[in-house]
Amino acid sequence: MTELRAIGVAKRFGGIRALDGVDFHVRGGELVAVCGENGAGKSTLMKILAGIHRPDAGQLEMDGVRIELESVRSAQSHGIALIHQELELCDNLTVAENVGLGDEPRHFAFVDRRRLEETARLALTRLGLEIDPRTPLGDLTIGHRQMVEIAKALARRARVLILDEPTSSLSRAEADRLFDVLDGLRDEGTAIVYISHRLSEIRRLADRVVVLRDGQLAGTLDHDEIEVDRLLTLMIGEPLEAHVRDASRRSGDEAALSLENVSTSSWPRATVSFSVAHGEVLGIAGLVGAGRTELLRAIFGIDTREGVVRVDGVAVPTARPRAMQRAGVAFLPEDRKFEGLLLEASVLDNLTLSALPRWSRFGFVDRTACARAAAEIVDELRIKCDYFERPVGELSGGNQQKVVLGKALLQDPNVLLLDEPTRGIDVGAKQEIWTRIRGLADQGLAVVFVSSEFEELTALADRVAVLSRGNLVAMLSHAELDETTLLDLAAGSRIRA
């Protein structure tokens, strides 16, 4: 039976010890979840198993025989496949071409298309998927693309499948489907390593959870032992306070932000009206594609909009980010790497980017004032960075997200628009950001945030607006919030005014 084992692997990057003598194993027919905060060493361990990094110390064994993984290709030849968080597929090729990429069946120098498509079809059928292998990949949903990536691994006879946060961009239905597929593969004897931040998934899937902390093994829990508290304690070393929401707090009545019949280019026929008071937190829920992100972007003036947006009672005529910022609105985009940060630029440059005019006279930047303000926000948000000039891309996901939040806060806004404020970051940083957002509301900011996580909606929102196909179908108070209602409303099977 398949058994992949890592013995005492260690890896350093510069002065940072990413992994420090970790033992790990996974057997065929078993799904092992790997947990840990960002920077705990999960990704490094996975990359070592997949042949991307070579360990500084320790060794790898496959079925009891020592192996050296020099490259992704040599890992593949041992039957190990890594499925990346960011899918590594080519949109312009067909499904079959993607499945066979780099390993095309040949007929002399030519690609044997029939065999290529046959291999892809077989792999897809094994996943219970009926997709024509000749479909261009670009036409598939994210969920289906994920399946294609798994099919690609299967077509290469992968015996060990490593998945790095596979559900981060999947809808609930797509995620459920993936879980069924993983169950099936496990029963067929595939060894599966599963990295995730989501505790519910881990409980649903894992036979065993391995928790890493600061590059070391913090502990292992068997399926029956998996409980939120125990897991969190292992991950962060200390128990967490529960919800951060203070239900006794009342919001003011003055509208900080109000929308009147606002429509976006993605749902031009649907109009949305609501207003948010100072000190109030409004959550926006809905399925992927319901127009939540588009609504925030339209409010902030990134996309064109129809209708009226008022900030503190004054209509902002031009839909431009700069005009909205001047009116006191700050925006945190959904995708921090591509929309939120200049990854190669320093922490300082990123933090101060939006609010530079605040510290300038006649266009000249007062760099001392600039650095002082940035230093304050770094301390306030507890951003872990040793020096300001460090490229922000080298920080962990949670700290990167804090930088994006810091950039918005340095504008000293009255209204904060947040799109998935804690997406893909670890539990500790998530709690910190939640506490921070509630604190900002207590100081009188109006907060509007989009979230796909029910937990986040309940933790933060005073009210939740539910969008379905661009329409505002319900406005729920915190007391009315419950997961089933929300899903029903979002799916459009129930309408409530």
């Binding site: 700069r322 929309e339 939120g340 200049l342 980017l353 530079l356 005019p357 020096y387 300001f388 460090r390």
Partner: protein, 335 residues
């Protein structure tokens, strides 16, 4: 306060290392040339080199403005041609007053740059294509305007020509006037890049235009203005060139100058993907190009016919060293 100073006082950034690298290459080439030819370190040759470097430095400065936004301007040579032909044509053939002629040329260049900028920023066309069309268009326009005739100032207009031809004595070395002009323009660029909101935003959008736009940076306006500045600096360069050599033939005046300008900027550390660049580096890069051309002419072992081949090899070498520096730096900070 304490933590702040600890955070900012860190080792040199990658940009400084790149400037150091190009400076070392520059000194090395100078030293080797001086060893191989006793004509290199003469006062006359140095003054001449300073003049050539200053003229091309102005063009590299312009190219860098566009390169830091992640764009490219291939029309620099043709703008040099157009402005270099227009100035004598306006002043001599059309008897226009000199200040008005200079202003007119600069205005035309600004219009050209604005057209590039709007096509790139508003319509989202690729800079390569837009300015490639410009490359053909402006040289063609220059040839039509002066009817393929060589234009020049003849023996007159010595005061005007003095802007390019005169020099000032500094410790026995005749430092040409354009050199001081370049220093001035470089200083202004340096201040704009490093100290103003405009400059910081320009570099930000070069790194990640989407993130900059989402952060409230008026990206379109900034991109357009960088093309305007580039074209205007090209026009300044073009006028200086024609004042210097006193003659422009529109079929070949300014040929390939965009490549010298871009190569100088890239050798000096401006990354073509945008967001990186240093004024000092690009000045050394532009000077390196001229020293190399000079060396090929002076050193007998290097055949003149090999000029382009040698330049190509050196630029490739510079880019390789740059990549090596980047990889070493990355390995050190990788996580």
């Amino acid at each position: 306060m304490n933590s702040q100073s600890a955070r900012s006082s860190h080792a040199r950034s990658l940009g400084d290392k790149k400037v150091l690298g190009i400076a070392i290459v520059f000194l090395l080439v100078c030293a080797l040339t001086a060893l191989a030819s006793d004509r290199f370190l003469t006062l006359h040759n140095i003054a001449n080199l300073l003049r050539r470097s200053a003229l091309f430095g102005v063009l590299s400065l312009g190219a860098a403005w566009v390169i830091v936004t992640g764009g490219i301007d291939l029309s620099i040579g043709s703008v040099v041609c157009l402005s270099g032909c227009l100035l004598p044509w306006l002043v001599v053939d059309q008897a226009m007053s000199t200040p008005i002629a200079v202003l007119l040329v600069l205005t035309i260049a600004a219009g050209i740059g604005l057209a590039h900028g709007l096509l790139v920023a508003r319509l989202g066309l690729q800079p390569f294509l837009v300015t490639l069309c410009g490359l053909l268009l402006y040289r063609g326009a220059a040839r039509v305007i002066v009817d393929d005739q060589t234009v020049g100032f003849g023996i007159g207009h010595m005061t005007l020509r003095g802007i390019a031809t005169s020099s000032f004595d500094v410790l026995g070395l005749a430092v040409p006037a354009p050199f001081f002009l370049l220093i001035g323009l470089s200083f202004v660029t340096f201040v704009l890049w490093q100290r103003t909101v405009f400059g910081r935003w320009l570099f930000a959008l070069g790194r990640n235009e989407t993130a900059a736009r989402f952060s409230g940076v008026p990206t379109k306006r900034l991109v357009a203005s960088s093309y305007v500045i580039c074209a205007m600096l090209a026009a300044v360069g073009g006028m200086l060139f024609v004042l210097d050599v006193n003659g422009a033939q529109p079929t070949d005046f300014g040929n390939f100058f965009e490549l010298y300008a871009i190569a100088g900027a890239v050798l000096g550390g401006c990354a073509l993907r945008g967001g990186e660049g240093s004024v000092l580096g690009l000045l050394i890069g532009a000077a390196l190009m001229q020293v190399l051309r000079n060396a090929i002419r002076l050193v007998d072992a290097l055949p003149n016919q090999a000029e382009y081949a040698i330049l190509g090899l050196v630029i490739l070498g510079g880019v390789l060293i740059d990549e090596a520096v980047r990889r070493i730096a990355k390995r050190r900070t990788a996580r």
